[in-house]
Every structure is written in C-alpha cells, then in structure tokens.
C-alpha cells in the first residue's frame, strides 16, 4: 500500500526532556498517520502531558527530532506548532467565556489591518466547521452558556479553522456525561474520515477500545511500546501501562454493614437538592450517582457545610448535628474529597506537607508554635502507607499527578480520623494503576467501620465498588439499588433518567 | 535566552543611569575635596607667626551649604536658591540643593543626609513648622547651624541661628496704601482673599487692615469697606471660586486684595467672567512673573513684591557672619516694595 511509502503525518524520534531533578521524557518515539486515532496511554506522571507540551511548543526538548510529512520541523513556540498544523485541546479550555462561539473560533485570526471584522463571513464559516464535525451549535451563543461538550467542539472547530491536520485531545471526556462522550467519539470518527490524525489521551479504556487504531504507551517517561488495537486486549493494555498485570479492575471485598452512622433527611437547597434523604451505615460504601447536574455534588456540599442548606437534618450516630460551615463538619468527623482537586482540594502553590497539615495544624502545634517535624513524621507514615509518590515533603502540590494529589488529600483527612468520608469522583483523571490503589483504600476505610459515601458518574465504578447505590435526578433521589452486584449499567441509567422514585 | 540578555542590559542601563545622574549633579562633590590642607597633617600655616595666612587659593572650597526649601518647582524658592548659590560660590562655598516636594518626612530625611555629609550649614524652608523640629534638633546636636528662609520653624527647642524673610506686615501696609490709591477718595467695597493657615499671609492681611482702618478713621465719606474675607487657598482655582461667589453676594464690589499672585489671577478670571474688569481693581502680593505680567496688562492694579533674590543673598551673609564667629541680628526682614504698572512697563524681564 501507499502507506509504506508515504511518510507519516507526524513522527517524533528520540525525544528527551528533563526538568531539574527529574527526567520527564527519555528517548520517546511517536508516529501518527493521517486518518488514524492514536491513543496515548500511561499512568499519570508517565510523561504524556510533557509530550503534548513538546508537540504544542510549550516545552523545548533537549534531544530528538520532529518531522511532519517527512519534513523536519522545529517547534519552539505555540505559534510554530499552530503553523505546523497542530491543534491541541487541553483539559482546561482556552476559551474566553464572555465571547461567542464564533468570536472564540476566530480569536487571533482577525484581519491584520485595522478594519471591521467580517462577522457574516465568520458566522458562515463557523456553521460550516460545525457541520463538518457533524454538530449543531449556534455560533452566536456565548461560550459561558455552552455545555462542556459544546465548548470542546468549539475548541475542535477552532483548531480546524486554523487548518489543523493533527489534533491532540488531552482527557477530552473527563468532564462529559456518558451521552456527551458518545457524541464526542462520533466527532472524532468524523475527523478520522477527513484524513485528520488524532492523538487521543484518556484513562477510560472503554473509549480507547471504541475509537483507537493504535496505542502508544509511556511509563515513567520512557516509551514502553506501540501496538495496533487488533493485537492487544484490555488486560495487556493495563499490563503495559502499569508494568504489571492487574487481575481485576476492582478489588474484591466482603461487606458487613453495621448500624446507621450518617443519616440525612429532607436535605433541600433551591432546585438543585430537593428533599434528599438516605442513610450510610458503618462499614458501608454507598454509591451516589446520576447524570451531570443531578445534584450529587451539591448534596455532598450540603452535608459538608460548604453550602448552607435551606431545610433538612443531618444526623451522625443518631445525634442531630448543626453544620454551618466546613469547620463544623470537620469537627464532627466529616471529610469531603472534592471532585475538583486543583480548584477545591489542594492549595497547589503550597507543599504537599503543608496541604497535608492544613486541617490538622492544631494537632501539630504546641504552645502556639507548629512543629514541622511532628507534621513531617505524621505525613511520612501516609507516604509509606498509601504509597504517595513524591520527591520530598517540600514538593509543591501542583507538581503531582492526579492520583498522588488525591492521595495527599486523602492523607490529610485520614490524619483527622474522619468518620464520614465523602468521595466526589475519587478517580477522575487518575490512571488505572492508581485507581486500583484508591479503590483498595476506600475498601480499607469501610472495613475500619467508617461511613463512606462515594459519588461517581462512571457506572462500572459505581457498580463495582458500592454496597448500595442511590440514584439522583434533577435534585431528587429517584431510586436505590440494594444489590449492585446483580444490577447492570442499564438499570442505573433508567433510574438516572426518570422523574419519579422507583425501587428496584 | 533573550530575556536574560534583556535583563542584563536593563541592569547595565539602570546602573548607567545612576552614574549619569550622579555625574550630572554630583560634580560639585568631586571638587569639594580638592582644596584644603591635604597631605600628612599639612599645617596650612606651617610658616608660623603672622604668616598664618588666609585661604591658600581662590578656588578652594571652604564647605557646603545645604538648601532644602518646600519645593524647587515653585519659582519663588528656586530664585532664592539661585541667588543663594551665586552668593555662596562667590564666598568659596558650595551649595547642595534638594527638593522635599512639600513632604516634611522627606525633608527630615534630607536633613539626616546633610548631617551625614557633615555640611557647613543648612538653609531650610520648613515644610511643616512643627514637624520639622526633631530634624532641626538633630542638626543642632551635630553642631550644624540651621538657618530658615521665608517661613520660620515653630518647634519648641529647635535652635535656629538666623532667619531671613519678607516683612509681610510692612508689605500688607504697602498693599493697603495701594488700595487707597486705587479707590481714591470715593472709597468702596473690598473683598479680601486670605490664607489663614499661612502665618505670613495672616500678617499681610493684618498690615493691610491697619492702613485701611487708619484711612477710615474719622471719615464719613469715601470709606473703604471690607465686605468679605474669604479663603482663597493661595491658588488659582479657589481664588476664582471665592471671587465668583463674592460677586454674587456683592454686586457693587469695587476692589479685591488677594494675598498672593495665584489667587489674584483666579480672582481676575472671575471678575472678567462677570465683565467687571473695568471697574474692579485688584491688589495682589508676591511678584511672581505671572503677577508682574498681569500688572503690565492692567489686570492687576499693583502689588507689593517680595525679593527672593535679596533673601538668597542675605541668608549667605548671615552664614558668613556665623562662620566668622561674629555677632549678627538673628532675624532679617526684607521690606517688600510696591510694584505698579509704571514699574512693569520698564521691567526688562517682561516682554
């Protein structure tokens, strides 16, 4: 076939990039052909983000070559990357919320001379771009009014408008609902047929199965291997990524829930949370799920005192509690591991140890003065116990991978001896290997008799982890699944989309 | 890296700027060390006897006189400074001039620096009559004599060796006499634009009133009646506003006495706006170029003028006497002189 003669769309060879104290990429090769989807896999911290930044011109590699269509190119700035026909869609979008979709697409491409912006033409072009990807979005809508999935499409359209032939997507589905994920995959397939090469990064192996033609796996900054999807199954994929084989995605355990520890009754706040009631027993993992916007996170925030509830009762071990702020909740032994670790869970600029210490300072203080050594000793135990991968205690939290960040957050709450632990999307953005460890930790907590409430929109996770599942829709509890092991994803989806409460 | 280069260049530029700045105005410093008995304890009069003569050379710098006025951006103070410099250099002294910009803290810090530099004498126009006190006392403690010009220092315990100022009371009297001349036998209604927070301006009004009261004494007709005393804030804007208000209240106003040029010029603007400039006579005070120009144009009738040139020279004379260990009168008041249209027409400085 012509494939063999034609040079690949993108070829990176021998890429090396080191940061002070750490080699982020070492001798990494990557090849992308037009019209194919290459999945880039690896645990967090494996070097995927660095590699993308090299392609995007944000990092300059010390060694290695980049070729496009067989021509050697130098990519030193983001502009170079754009010029080379590379469009990168980062996890955090680069859209201006106050501008319309059209304005965002053509931002930076306004006519160079002082003149009026050809609005109508732009509008037409934007519609054409959306049509090309097979979606319908009003180009005149403000970006802030668009859903996450729609914003993503705007980003893709923006890349296409700049004649991108290579599109890189970093965790594009992390914040999407299952239905939106399906839509996105459809868009990616459409791009494929148009001869665009897509580098697709995701932790969700289902998606990889569904869309990728080949996978390239990185581990610890090194290139582990590239395989065609036909030659590899899921276990092998995981084994490549973590360097060992995992028997199962979810660890096994036997549960024996005790008496009711946390009881919430008729929690209400606006139309987000309307009369939500449920119990969590000692040693029980209760899954809370629903579609995006169902009010799961809002419920958790009410229990934790992060938002003020309008009505409702929270009881712990039969005692009614007054929870007016997170401080109150923490005092009663509650903790919340937020979905948005960077925005709400960690102070990224502070060190991991400082983040760990934040809710525990009283414990490490004597005579008003903090003892850094006591703090450090306590933290060291957790570093060992839950295997937090850090260079030193003085490393800033922002430099850690998602899984390790989650572990730091977990460590700080474990140190507080929390009794009621609320996880909001505990494994979002966390790679397969680390996921398994987090699951083990959650089990361990339940076995210690704590009450665990786990919010997740990943149905396999909810089904695999929970002892009981509570499903919400539009602020209300619409159902409860008492035997998750016997339920299917379809059962959950049914509850999640219906209005009235049904018991299954 | 480009950035690094940029950074290095800017450091170099910053340093160069500094050096240039020092070179520009610091050249005097270099000179100051060049004279004097240098060399191993070289006794200047080693010949002994009455041969122990005076200064060994005409270009020898005997010391430094430091000058810190309220600000150098006011021409009044810079004229004092220029004449102070000329007179001091004539006598073999160098002058160091700094600008505290009306900030007494800055002025106090400048005094600290003068002390470190061990200057011969300090000439001060206090930015604040009270708050400058501790700085003056520090100079006292260091044995450096402090002289004031224009405004006095009112802080308790601060020792001032000498003061040169304008005789404001006498100037006020001149203004009063000018007012009588302006209104003639008919008399009339007068507005006074004052500035009560400045002691010197209060004295001007006092002197003015003394002459006016004496004029009115025993008269039944042709009385000069001060119908309003308003705050002119010593500036153009407030002078304008106060005058405009007064013109509303007193439609038959005949004349205005403003305690300085800026407020007088503001007053004229208001008078002109009311189209009364042919009738209302304005007496000002100061002698700033703008004021003199207004007199030439006939906008201001006359004004007592201060003599910053004389003040600058006089203060150096006091310092010379101090340096010679002679007795001198502690306070010198320089009389103001009246400046009229006739003077303005012959003034070579006005075009």
């Amino acid at each position: 076939m012509a494939e063999a003669e034609k040079p690949p769309l993108l070829r990176m060879q021998g890429i090396r990039k080191a940061f002070p104290g750490v080699v982020a990429l070492d001798d990494v090769d990557l090849e992308l052909h037009s019209g194919e989807v290459l999945a880039l896999l690896g645990e967090n911290g494996a070097g995927k983000s660095t590699l993308i930044k090299v392609i995007g011109g944000a990092h300059l590699p010390e060694e290695g070559t980049i070729e496009i269509d067989g021509q050697s190119v130098r990519i030193e700035t983001p502009q170079d990357s754009l010029q080379a026909g590379i469009g990168i869609i980062y996890q955090e979008f680069n859209l201006v919320p106050e501008l319309t979709a059209r304005e965002n697409i053509f931002l930076g491409q306004e006519p160079s001379r002082v003149s009026f912006i050809p609005r109508k033409e732009e509008h037409r072009k934007a519609l054409a771009l959306f049509a090309r990807i097979g979606v319908e979005i009003d180009p005149g809508k403000l970006c802030s009014e668009l859903s996450v999935a729609e914003q993503q499409v705007v980003e893709i359209a923006k890349a296409l408008s700049q004649n991108a032939r290579i599109i890189v997507m970093d965790e594009p589905t992390a914040a999407l609902t299952p239905r939106e994920v399906e839509g996105l995959l459809e868009v990616v397939r459409e791009l494929k047929t148009q001869g665009i090469g897509v580098i697709y990064i995701s932790h969700r192996l289902d998606e990889i199965d569904a869309i990728a033609d080949r996978i390239t796996v990185l581990r610890d900054g090194g290139h582990v291997g590239t395989r065609s999807m036909e030659d590899i199954d899921r276990e092998q994929m995981i084994a490549l990524m973590v360097g060992r084989s995992l028997d199962k995605e979810f660890p096994a355990r036997s549960s024996s829930p005790g008496k009711v520890r946390l009881a919430v009754r008729q929690l209400t706040r606006g139309n987000k949370v309307q009369g939500v009631s449920f119990d969590v027993r000692a040693g029980e993992i209760v899954g809370l799920t629903g579609l995006v916007g169902a009010g799961r996170t809002e419920t958790a925030r009410l229990i934790f005192g992060a938002d003020r509830m309008e009505a409702g009762v929270i009881e712990l071990d039969g005692q009614e509690l007054r929870v007016r702020s997170p401080r109150d909740a923490i005092r009663h032994g509650f903790c919340l591991l937020t979905e948005d670790r960077k925005g709400q869970g960690l102070v990224l600029g502070q060190t991991v140890q400082e983040n760990f210490g934040l809710p525990n300072l009283a414990e490490f203080s004597g005579m008003g003065l903090l003892s850094a050594s006591r703090e450090s000793e306590a933290f060291a135990q957790y570093v060992d116990k839950i295997k937090i991968k850090i260079v030193s205690h003085a490393q800033t939290a922002g430099t850690l991978s998602g899984g390790n960040q989650q572990k730091v957050v977990l460590a700080k709450w474990l140190q507080r001896n929390a009794e009621v632990i609320i996880f909001d999307e505990p494994t979002r953005g966390i790679d397969v290997g680390a996921k398994f460890e987090i699951y083990q930790l959650i089990h361990q907590l339940a076995e210690e008799g704590k009450a665990v409430l786990m919010i997740s929109s990943e149905l396999p996770e909810i089904l695999g982890m929970s002892d009981r599942i509570i499903v919400m829709n539009e602020g209300r509890v619409t159902g409860e699944i008492k035997e998750p092991s016997e339920a299917t994803q379809e059962d959950v989806m049914k509850l999640a989309t219906q209005r009235e409460k049904l018991a299954v | 890296m480009n950035l690094k280069k940029f950074f290095l260049t800017s450091i170099a530029m910053g340093a160069a700027l500094l050096m240039a700045g020092c070179g520009g105005s610091g050249e005097g410093d270099a000179k100051s060390g060049s004279g004097g008995g240098s060399g191993g304890g070289d006794a200047s009069g080693s010949g002994g006897g009455d041969v122990s003569a005076g200064p060994s050379g005409s270009n020898e710098v005997k010391g430094v006189i430091a000058y810190t006025p309220q600000t150098l951006s006011n021409p009044f103070f810079s004229v004092i400074g220029d004449h102070l410099r000329a007179e001091a250099e004539k006598n073999g002294y160098e002058v160091l001039m700094v600008d505290p910009d009306y900030d007494v803290k800055k002025q106090s810090e400048q005094m600290d620096d003068f002390i470190v530099k061990d200057v011969t004498a300090i000439v001060l126009v206090p930015c604040d009559r009270i708050a400058v006190g501790p700085a003056v006392k520090q100079a006292n403690d260091a044995g450096i004599p402090v002289f004031t010009v224009d405004s006095k220092c009112a802080a308790e315990g601060a020792k001032i060796e000498g003061h040169v100022g304008t005789d404001n009371f006498q100037g006020g009297e001149l203004a009063g006499q000018a007012m009588i001349d302006a209104l003639g036998d008919a008399g009339g209604k007068v507005l006074v634009l004052d500035l009560k927070r400045a002691n010197s301006c209060v004295l001007r009004v006092d002197g003015f009133k003394k002459v006016i009261n004496a004029h009115n004494e025993g008269r039944t007709s042709g009385i000069i009646d001060i119908v309003a005393e308003l705050d002119g804030n010593g500036d153009n804007t407030k002078g304008y506003q106060s005058t405009a208000d007064a013109l509303q209240a007193h439609e038959d106003l005949d004349a205005i006495f403003a305690i300085n040029d800026p407020s007088a010029l503001g007053a004229y603007a208001a008078v002109e706006e009311a189209n009364r400039q042919d009738h209302i006579k304005i007496i000002a005070f100061d002698g700033m170029p703008e004021g003199k120009q207004a007199i030439k144009k006939g906008q201001i009738f006359a004004e007592p003028i201060q003599h910053p040139d004389k003040m600058g020279r006089q203060i150096v004379q006091l310092i010379m006497k101090y340096q010679a260990g002679e007795d001198f009168t502690q306070e010198t008041l320089i009389p103001a002189t009246l400046y009229t249209k006739a003077d303005a027409d012959q003034d070579p400085d006005l075009k």
Binding site: - | Q110, P134, R197, E326
Partner: protein
C-alpha cells in the same frame, strides 16, 4: 592542611545550587549590587577623624613644636556626632605625646573666637588644632585675632588629613538608612500578609496620619503640654487601637460584603485622611509635649541602632515565626493560594482575612505613632503616598500580587532596597525628578529579577 580545606571549600562551592540560591535570594543580590553602586557613587574625600588620625596629627604637632608647647583644640560641636569624639581623641593624643592642651573648645565658630580672644596674652599659643570646619574659621580669622591678642601671633594651624571613603558606607549613614525605612518596613509586614491573601491595602498611608493625629490629640487631652510617660503610652495605644479597628472594619467589608479590597481600602484611604484633618483645627501638626520621653521610639538609640529599627527587627522576627511556625501563618498562605480549598479544609477563611487587615491597620497605626515620635507632632499630612512605598517594598521583596506566595524577610530586603536607593541618590545629590525615574527603574529591575528566578527554576 590548607590544601585540604581549599579542596573542601571548592567542593562545597560546587555543590551549591546557584540557581536555587539566586532564586531564593535574588533580591538580596539586587540589594548588594545597589550598595556597591551607591558606595562608588558617593566616594568622597573627607577628613579623617579616627583615633589613629588624631594620633598622627598629635605627633606632627609635637615634631614641629616640641614638648610642653601650648596648643588649643577647636572643633565644631554639638551634643553628639563626630565633632566631640574627635576633640576628645585629639586632646588625649596631644597630651599623651606631652603637649600642653590649654583649651578644648567644641562649639560654634563664635565659641572658638571667644576662646582665642580670651587666651592669656602673655602665653604664646604654639598651635591651634582644628577640624575641617573650624579650620576655615581659623584660616580667615586668626590673622585678625592675632592683632588683638599677641599670644596668637606665632600660632600654627593644624587640621586633619583627608581620606577617601564612600559617604554611603559611613556607620551613621547606614544607621540613617535603617531609621528611614523603619516606618515603611513595619507597615510592610502587614501589607505582606494582606497581599499574600490576594488583597491590597491602600489606606496605610492615611492611617499613619490618622494614628499620629489621634495619638497627639489623646496625649494633649490627657496631659496637655506636659504629659507623663503613661499619658504618652496611653495616647500611643489609642492611635494604634483606632487604626486596628479601622483595619478590622476594612477586613469586615472585604469579607462580609465581598467588596474588592482595592475599592474598600481606597475609600478608607480618603476617609482616614479626611478625618485626620478634621480632628485638628489647623492643618499644621499638633505638637506633643514631653519630648525627652516621647522621642524614644522615633529617634532614640539605646541599643546602638535606633529604637525604631530595633522594634522593626523584633517585629520581623516575630512575623517570620508567625508565618512559618504557626497555624495562622499557614492559614494566610492557604487562603491566598486557594481560598475555596482552604475553606473546605476547615480554615476559617473570613476570620483569617479580617485578621490580616486588622494587623495591617494596627501596624499602620504603629507606624503613625513612630512618625509622630519622629516629628514630635501629630501631622495630618504625614504618610502621604507611603502606601505606594510599602506596596513597592512588598513586591520588590518577592511577594506575588496574585497571592499565595511571599516571604517576610523578602519584604525586609525590599524595604532595604528602597531605602538604599533613596538614601544613595540623596547622598549623590541627584535631582528630585531624576530620582523618581531611577527609583521606578530599579523597582522594575528588582521585580524583573524576581520574575527571572521563576523561569530559572
């Protein structure tokens, strides 16, 4: 042995991570460069007044006049300063070598004139030994005086040698620099905290005036023109507490009503300045009595350094301990770094914010008392635009205006940089407007270095 030490030294030098060094102490480097530049810019020939110079002068006088000759020491003098010390050294050195010091006059030229005139006419004065100032007097007046008093006819004049030394590096000047930054530096502690939380406080300059006026008024009210020490303390406390309360109010507005700190403190800035003027009848400052006691804080120097500087250093050490070793310090950083994460970790965010504004107001109040003590009056014009210097010190010190980052001692270095620039330029007699240009340039350079260190990482 030495070789080994060198080897070790070399190894340890190599082991140093220079990048980290520069990034941690970048502004210290700027400070050092500035000090060097200022030293070169202020090099000046000046009279030697050291004990050694006095000895040298004494031996010269001895060699030219012989033992037992009558000499007179004439030095310009006040209560303190170099003059009297030099006079004392001179007298001792002269007597040690066997000369007869008939008088040691420390005072004005007039005092010297009187001393010379009244010298016994029948005792020929061999020499007058003077400092540079009285040397000028003697050169001009001695011939004339000799006509009145024949004892002076043969008198020779001696004055000290000159040596070249930067004025900037004189001990007195370095002490001055510290004294001049004390107020700004003390307030900058509070400002550092405020800026670390992502806020700003524009009101501190006005609070200086407000505190100074309240202090002066309280003292006046309590003790009139002759207040006791306890009156002074109570009055000062009133000024500090008033400003702390204002700071608390600021913090309340910022947290409870969520008004941006810039706006709140802008408002407070005008209000406090206006109140300071309204509290007094005249725009002139209100003098404070009992100078001996009250000036202790501002211009007293009981520990080698000025008391205000000692206070400043103590406050910096305390603030450093607070920020690095206590919960509240940790909370301040956390609130600045990520308020939501801090809140969800149980940090009392609102209380922390109110605290930092309160502390900033309190320190501004203290700065006001220090200013009042420096000027011995409550001046409603005091502290004009000081807020900008304080902010400059904090920013030059490496604290990010975006919040979350900053070091207390960095701020002290920032304040020193600002103090050194201002002082050095004054000493180098740079004209006012040029000073502004250079001042701005150096601030930008310092911040640039700070930015650069982030890139070097």
């Amino acid at each position: 042995m030495t070789k080994l030490d060198f080897g070790k030294l070399f190894a340890s030098l190599k082991a140093l991570d220079y990048r980290k060094l520069l990034s941690d102490y970048g502004n210290v480097l700027v400070l050092l460069i500035l000090c060097v530049v200022m030293s070169f810019a202020t090099v000046k020939e000046q009279p030697a007044t050291s004990p050694a110079a006095a000895e040298e002068l004494a031996s010269l006088v001895l060699s030219e006049n012989g033992k037992g000759a009558q000499v007179m020491v004439l030095v310009r003098g006040g209560k303190k300063g170099a003059g009297p010390k030099f006079a004392k050294n001179l007298e001792r050195s002269l007597e040690e070598v066997g000369l007869n010091v008939v008088a040691n006059v420390q005072g004005s030229p007039r005092d010297s004139r009187i001393a010379l005139r009244d010298h016994p006419k029948d005792q020929p004065l061999a020499a007058v030994v003077t400092d540079q100032h009285i040397a000028v007097f003697c050169a001009e007046q001695l011939p004339g005086l000799a006509k009145e008093n024949p004892a002076l006819a043969q008198s020779k004049r001696y004055s000290p040698t000159k040596h070249t030394w930067p004025v900037f590096l004189k001990i007195d000047n370095l002490r001055n620099v510290l004294k001049q930054i004390a107020v700004v530096a003390v307030i900058a502690i509070g400002m550092t905290l405020v800026i670390i939380t992502g806020g700003i406080d524009l009101s501190v300059g006005s609070l200086i005036a407000f505190s100074a006026v309240i202090t002066a008024l309280s003292i006046d009210h309590l003790g009139g023109t002759d207040p006791t020490t306890s009156h002074l303390l109570l009055g000062s406390l009133a000024g500090v507490v008033a400003c702390a309360l204002i700071g608390m109010g600021t913090g309340g507005l910022v947290t409870v009503f969520k008004i941006p700190a810039f706006i709140v403190t802008l408002g407070v800035m005008f209000i406090a300045r206006g109140l300071a003027f309204l509290c007094l009848e005249k725009p002139n400052g209100l003098p404070i009595g009992n100078e001996e006691a009250f000036k202790w804080l501002g211009s007293g120097a009981d520990f080698g350094l000025h008391n205000s500087v000692v206070l400043m250093l103590i406050l910096y050490v305390l603030a450093h301990i607070m920020m690095s070793r206590t919960s509240i310090g940790r909370y301040v950083y956390a609130v600045g770094g990520n308020p939501e994460a801090a809140r969800l970790s149980g940090v009392p965010v609102k209380r922390v914010l109110v605290f930092v504004y309160l502390l900033c107001g309190l320190l501004a109040g203290l700065g006001g008392v220090m200013t009042a003590s420096l000027q011995m009056s409550g001046d409603p014009k005091a502290g004009n635009l000081v807020e900008l210097q304080v902010i400059a010190a904090v920013v030059v010190g490496g604290t990010s205006l975006a919040g979350g980052k900053g070091k207390i001692f960095g701020t002290l270095v920032g304040a020193l940089i600002i103090g050194v620039i201002k002082n050095g330029m004054n000493l180098a007699s740079i004209e006012g407007k040029k000073q502004d240009v250079i001042f701005g340039t150096v601030i930008l350079i310092a911040v640039l270095v700070d930015q650069l260190k982030a890139r070097l990482r």
